[in-house]
């Protein structure tokens, strides 16, 4: 199964140490614009992991022209616009953690997933421990900045039913 990742999900997965697991399960593609956006500052957290996976050919780079009308209408960046164009043209699923991109996906009929979905599934499949899943969810609370409702539901799903994300309340 091939999936397309935009910069928001790619960076979040790298920051939470999930990118290796995701590329192990899916054939991952990113556009040249996403590569540029996520790796041009090589000292940024996660950039090195992304570069390594590109070099190891675990992430394929695709050249695609951005849909200018999509970029303008949904006020997207080039990476998001080209990722949506790739997913749309080749009927692939887009991993994105950007609300504007999700809105565009809904209107254009592109299926989407977010970084937290991979963490929950990896836990369910026994690929990461409870502690790892919890740490990754808390990292996603910080960097993914999901709503309290989503974080609490995710914690419930890994069995931390009464866990509250205090940070999320701010």
């Amino acid at each position: 199964m091939k999936i397309v990742l935009d910069s928001s999900s790619l960076i979040l997965l790298a920051k939470t140490g999930m990118l290796g697991i995701v590329t192990g399960h899916f054939e991952c593609e990113i556009t040249e614009d996403v590569k540029r956006e996520s790796t041009h500052k090589k000292d940024c957290m996660g950039a090195k992991a992304i570069i390594k996976l590109i070099e190891d050919k675990k992430i394929e780079i695709r050249r695609i022209n951005p849909k200018r009308d999509v970029e303008i209408e949904f006020r997207l960046g080039k990476g998001e616009a080209t990722s949506i164009a790739l997913a749309l043209e080749e009927n692939k699923i887009l991993a994105t953690d950007d609300k504007a991109a999700i809105n565009a996906c809904k209107i254009l009929g592109v299926e989407f997933i977010t970084a937290i979905d991979f963490v929950l599934k990896a836990y369910k499949k026994g690929e990461i421990s409870h502690e790892e899943a919890k740490n990754k969810i808390m990292n996603l609370d910080k960097y993914g900045r999901y709503s309290t409702e989503i974080i609490n539901r995710a914690l419930e799903k890994i069995g931390d039913k009464n866990e509250q994300s205090n940070k999320s309340k701010t």
Binding site: I11, R75, L76, G79, K99, D117, F118, L120, S147
Partner: protein, 98 residues
């Protein structure tokens, strides 16, 4: 290169500049800081309201997406991905990763 422009400001705006001058070295520095901070605030507000994407916001602020994500985390700005979005994406992951 800096350029000189003339602006018409009312008394309230001048008072803000005078207050800013206390922490900046002069009126020009104060005005430049206010413009930059105002631009940043405006971008963050548009992002928070879902009017622009992460990529667009980072580009407009002339920083990387990773730096923008760190900035949002530091400022405690939540994502506006809804619970309904989450439910929809959960269905998709369950279908493609069995």
């Amino acid at each position: 290169m800096n350029k000189v422009i003339s602006l018409r400001l009312d008394e309230e705006e001048l008072e803000i500049l005078r207050n800013m001058e206390k922490t900046e070295k002069d009126k020009s520095s104060a005005a430049r800081k206010l413009i930059k901070d105002g631009w940043k605030f405006s971008i963050l507000q548009m992002y928070s309201r879902g009017k622009i994407s992460t990529g667009r916001a980072a580009k407009d602020l002339n920083i990387s997406i990773s730096e923008f994500i760190d900035m949002l985390a530091e400022l405690g700005i939540r994502s506006n991905i809804t619970y309904e979005d989450f439910l929809e994406s959960q269905k998709t992951i369950n279908r493609i990763w069995k």
